[in-house]
Structure formats: C-alpha cells, structure tokens
C-alpha cells in the first residue's frame, strides 16, 4: 500500500540503551548510584570487594537509558556508562 506520507508511528522508535561498567574495587559502598538511578537498574550485591564493601551490580540491564546519573554522582569514579550499540 502506497502512502502519501509516512504515518507517524510507522518506524520503530529508536531507544537509547546504556551499558554499565562497574569497577568494584574502587567502590566504597555508599549506595548513591543505587538510590539515584531513576530506573532502578542497580542493586547492592551480596559479594564483597577487596575493601570489604558491597559494590553495586546491574539487576535490570534492559532498563538503563544511558542517563549517566550514576557516573556523575559516584564519589569514587567506580561506575560509568557507555552507549550500547544496537
């Protein structure tokens, strides 16, 4: 079927997804990233890092939208986000 113009919802919307990288041995277990992630992607792990803290771990990877708030609020430079290539 020929359209005169493309309907608005025809193309699948492009969503941005983020890929979270955690450096567990730098983490000091403050939980800022877990608390301030707007999509509840992270949670506290049950394992210990070298210093005896519980670093975060990605619980819901598909919900990350690459907002970068965890990277900006982490005081120890222990977490950062890169854009996931589709």
């Amino acid at each position: 079927m020929r359209y005169w113009e493309k309907p608005f919802g025809k193309e699948k919307p492009k969503t941005i997804r983020g890929e979270i990288h955690i450096i567990p041995d730098r983490c000091k277990g403050c939980s800022f990233c877990i608390e301030y992630c707007p999509r509840d992607v992270l949670e506290l792990s049950k394992e210990f890092n070298k210093k005896g803290y519980h670093p975060p771990v990605v619980a819901k990877p598909d919900r990350c939208t690459f907002c970068g708030l965890c990277e900006m609020i982490c005081p120890d430079f222990a977490i950062f986000v890169t854009e996931k290539e589709e």
């Binding site: 890929e19 979270i20 990288h21 955690i22 450096i23 567990p24 730098r26 000091k28 277990g29 403050c30 939980s31 800022f32 608390e35 301030y36 792990s45 049950k46 803290y53 771990v57 990605v58 619980a59 990877p61 708030l69 990277e71 900006m72 609020i73 982490c74 005081p75 120890d76 430079f77 950062f80 890169t82």
Partner: protein
C-alpha cells in the same frame, strides 16, 4: 549475583580519568562523602565549558575539600588554611590567560579566609570559587564551623551550637559577586551546568555546594549514613532562581533554596584598573611617550642630581 552486562572492564577506562590523578587513587574521602560527587560534577562541568585544560589552574586550602587539588590533573596548588583566594588572585593577575578555580570548604573560605573572600568579591577578581559546605570542620574531627546550623552538635559544641551561622550565598552576593549559585551534590546536572557557566563567565563567580559529611556531621546529628543525609538534603531542597540570596539561610530543618541567584556582567578588577588608569593618563598629550619612556616619571622626592644621557 553476577550479571553478564556488569563487565569488570580492563580495556575501557572511566571517562573522567584524563582529568584525575589516577596514581593517587583511591582518594581519602569517606564512604558517603559528597566530595567525590563534587569532583565528578566539576570534571563534567569543565569538559562542558570547553576551556583549555592546560590553562586551567585550581587552588585549594586546607581541609577535606582542600584535598581536591591533589586529585585533579591540572596545575594545582594546595596552599595554607584560608589563603587560597589571595593566592588565586595573584596567580590570575600575573597570567590573565588562566582560568582559575578555588575549591575549598566552608571553614577555610568563610572563617579564617572570610576577609579574603569579601575583598575578592568586592574587587570582582576574575576567579571562580567553589565552596563545599558540609556544615562542620571535617578533617580535624568535627568541630564547629561558621555554617553549623543552630542547635546542631559538633565536637566543640557538645551541648549544641548556639551561634548564628553564616548564609554563604548572601555574603557572597552582598560583597559584590557577579555570579552566585547554590546547589546540593544531588543536583548533579544543574551543578555541572553552573560550573560550566562560571568557567566561561568573567568576574567573581561563587558556587556553594551543600554536601553530606557522613563521618562527623551525620553521625553527630541525625545518625545514619551519608546517603540518608543526602536524601534529606534532596527532600528539603527547592529550586528558586528568583530568591533573594540574603534571605535564604540554612538551618537543621528548613528548605534548602537552590538556584542561580545572581548572574550579572560587571567589569572585572583588571578591566577596571587598566581602563581607569588609561583614561586618566590619556589626558596627558604625551601618554604614549610616557608609556615607553618611564624615566620621565619622577617621584616628587627625587630630584635629578645630574641628568643622564639619552634614553
């Protein structure tokens, strides 16, 4: 609970590492301290501002916040307690191409360094002052600060603090700063934008960052971790750019009014002095000659004994 997207990265490094002294990590700040967040937002702000990193210098004083200079990979100076601002003034005036940041704490800038702050603001020297306010003297173990709220406990106020605290943004604005803002460490993006604005703005720029101190302030006052204190700051924070900075003090339970309160363009110290002297001297018809021939300038007390040969 391992997860396949939380990769322990060896090949990718943290994007801020080019501006951090990674050979000095891990830093000395406590778990739950807001200073690390202040540094990350500073690094992001600097990247956003687009200033040349080689031409940026950072000066700090003594205290927990004073250690920031040691962790940033810029020309950094860790000076004496309270004297970061005159040091930064000397640095900026001697090389006006530099972008100079002063990163220090509330006690360093407003107690021992209070005099220097109000004079630098009065002169509108082109430096950017970032004051991290944790309401206490953290490094030395939790003593009273000039910003400790009424009724709060500290180690030199074991029965509670009954001195009226300073309102930092009010003081900076009243002294004549060109840009005055207050944020908490939870306002990460707005702080980044604020720092980027301040870096590119000429004149005395002052940013107060309300930050949680987990080990002393939180422990002595409301208990809990740094996260609990930060959550409380965030709950109590409202944003109102039109607020009068002199009317928004901080106490233990009122709202923390954040925003960019003053954002004006005023001539800087150097522009005033240069322009003023030039205007005054241009009245002399031989101003150009005076500039190049300064031997003609004599103080009224020295009379030439014999005049010299040609210049």
């Amino acid at each position: 609970m391992a997860n396949n997207t939380a990769q322990i990265i060896q090949e990718k490094s943290h994007p801020m590492e080019d501006l951090l002294r990674m050979d000095r990590m891990p830093h000395i700040w406590c778990s739950g301290c807001g200073l690390g967040s202040a540094v990350t937002t500073f690094v992001e702000g600097l990247k956003k501002a687009g200033v040349s990193y080689d031409k940026t210098a950072i000066v700090s004083g003594i205290g927990c916040t004073g250690r920031v200079a040691g962790y940033l990979r810029l020309d950094s100076y860790h000076t004496t307690h309270g004297r970061a601002i005159p040091f930064a003034t000397g640095l900026k005036l001697a090389n006006r191409d530099l972008t100079v940041f002063v990163f220090s704490g509330d006690g360093d800038l407003f107690a021992i360094g209070g005099n220097h702050l109000i004079h630098a603001a009065r002169r509108n020297v082109d430096i950017n002052v970032i004051c991290v306010n944790n309401f206490i003297y953290g490094m030395t173990g939790g003593q009273n600060a000039p910003t400790t709220p009424l009724g709060a406990y500290s180690s030199t106020a074991p029965y509670g603090n009954y001195e009226m605290p300073f309102n930092l943004v009010g003081l900076a604005a009243a002294s004549g700063a060109s840009y005055v803002a207050r944020w908490t460490t939870a306002h990460a993006r707005r702080l980044t934008n604020s720092i980027a604005t301040a870096a590119n703005k000429k004149g005395f720029c002052f940013i107060e960052i309300v930050s949680p101190c987990a080990t002393v302030f939180a422990r002595k006052n409301m208990g809990g971790t740094g996260l609990d204190l930060l959550k409380e700051f965030q709950t109590r924070a409202i944003i109102d750019h039109d607020a009068d900075p002199t009317q928004i003090p901080l106490s233990m339970d009122n709202e923390i009014v954040c925003g960019e309160f003053v954002n004006e363009d005023r001539p800087t110290f150097w522009e005033n002095v240069q322009g003023g002297i030039k205007n005054r001297l241009e009245k002399f018809s031989n101003w150009e000659e005076m500039q190049s021939n300064s031997r003609k300038i004599t103080h009224k007390k020295d009379r030439k004994y014999t005049s010299s040969i040609d210049v």
